[in-house]
């Protein structure tokens, strides 16, 4: 089994010092895999991702990327060191053109490791056609692809994705999630938070289930997908695999 690219050890974190959202969470994401986090609203899924990205203060515990501790590093430093974060909302700069968004995103990579814009355009042809347009004019699905392209621009080792399919049409959601799968084939690791449990679980390698700021259960996604207990307890009493 490959080494974990990301390890969270007993992390307690939150937006206000005395009100932790995450309570003593441990988690590992393996290289070249999609690690999925699901759970009800308010379970702390997004908070964990933000804590890894350096946007949420970590009260205790530590976070390691490829064996090196990154706890407490600033978000811009992490972004320059191979960790990309795709937020759920407002994940592109609407007032900049597509090309400007990508140029800015690529700049954070250390010299010579950045991805040429042309290869990003080759991967996302819809963006290439609109490179001179303001990003605010893109459709929901295209925005999500631009956000992912911005994450890829600095050739990251680990991409943190917060509900990339939220607000998209089922077709666009499917496209975005399937694209995530192709990325892992190139050695990128993904930590994915999704509400779109069904589709995401079919795609993911490993799955964690959060509730009330704690990590309740984890296992290979394929096994949890067919576990009736999971559906009943954590996913609103409906069996996950049944829909």
């Amino acid at each position: 089994m490959p080494d974990p690219i990301l390890a969270a050890e007993a992390v307690t974190a939150g937006y206000v010092p005395d009100l932790p959202i995450l309570k003593n969470v441990s988690l590992a994401a393996r290289t070249g895999q999609i690690t999925l986090i699901i759970g009800p609203n308010g379970a702390g899924k997004s908070t964990l991702i933000k804590a890894v990205a350096g946007l949420v203060h970590i009260n205790s515990g530590r976070i390691l990327v490829a064996g090196r501790e990154i706890t407490g590093q600033s978000a811009d430093r992490l972004a320059s060191n191979g960790i990309a974060y795709v937020p759920q909302n407002n994940n592109i700069f609407r007032s900049l053109t597509i090309e400007q968004n990508l140029t800015l995103a690529a700049r954070r990579a250390p010299a010579q490791t950045g991805v040429p814009l042309e290869s990003l355009y080759a991967q996302f042809p819809a963006l290439a056609d609109k490179r001179r347009d303001k990003a605010g004019t893109l459709s929901g699905g295209q925005r999500q692809f631009l956000a992912i392209a911005m994450a890829l621009a600095a050739a990251p080792r680990l991409i943190l994705m917060d509900e990339p399919s939220a607000g998209l049409s089922p077709k666009a959601a499917q496209e975005v999630l399937e694209h995530a799968r192709t990325l892992t084939a190139e050695g990128v690791s993904i930590l994915l938070v999704e509400q779109n449990v069904n589709q995401a679980m079919r795609l993911a390698d490993h799955c964690y289930i959060f509730a009330e700021g704690r990590n309740q259960l984890d296992g290979p996604a394929a096994e949890l997908l067919n576990d009736p207990v999971v559906g009943e307890i954590y996913l609103g009493g409906r069996r996950v695999g049944a829909a």
Binding site: G54, L55, D76, L78, R94, L96, A154
Partner: protein, 303 residues
Amino acid sequence: MQNLIDGILTGSYISLGAIGLTLVMHILRFANFSHAELLSIGAYAALVCDALVSALTPAFAAKLGPLSLTWSLMAAIVVSMIFTGLSAVVLDRLVFKRVREKGAELSMVFASFGMALVIRNVIGLIFGLSPELYSKDIAFAVVLSRDPLLLVKPDQVFVLLAALLLMLILHLILSRTTFGFSLRAVAENPALAQVNGVNLNRTIMAVWLIGGALAAAAGVFYGLSHQIIPVMGRDLVLPIFAATIVGGIGSVYGAVLGGFIVGIAANMSVLVLPAGYTPSIPFLLILAVLIMRPHGLFGEARA
């Protein structure tokens, strides 16, 4: 027509002041009432530097063609822009950064009020309260036409062209360089800018530098067309705020347009109102814009 020409000239330095204010207000999310004092700092810094340069190298004290401007004052403008930009950074480090880390937006506004009074009075203590001029010579206006009578001073033409040049440079930086993209990115969404590798503290410093430098130029240009007095910040704060709000907070192009609108409106108003009412025009513009377009002409609602 004469009022329109004067209005455009007034607009050029109000715009320069408003650009800095709109950037700071948008990125740091507070109404900086001490911004106009940066114009005073710039004007006085240029005065001192001009005196120094012309005393050390008298050759530079020669006038440039028809302008009352000298080589030494040209050099002084550049030095003053750098000095004022750095002063703005120091001001942020000493005062605003500390308040920002502990207090709310409103504390920042009050702090900026306080800073405005402190700066204004320190300048008064050092330089005295009487007006100063860059040149004691009387600058003769050039007659553009006799009927209707249109007069333009060569200095005014210089001010307008220099202001437009500075705006063009800023436009190129914002639209062509990755540094410009990062400034706009921080203005739109600071957290997203950070996860795209933009260092927030460095960007904030750059904003103060740019805002201070443009304010210094505006201060010198104001001094060239009027006079340099310690309370010039008090007289300019309102038109600059009006320009910022009319243009839409955060929009550089809005600030430019707002500056010209405020300048022209104030100068045109004497045609219909007694001159004593001119200072009320910026207020009326703010009111009109807030009622009809609360985000300003170019502004956007915050994400």
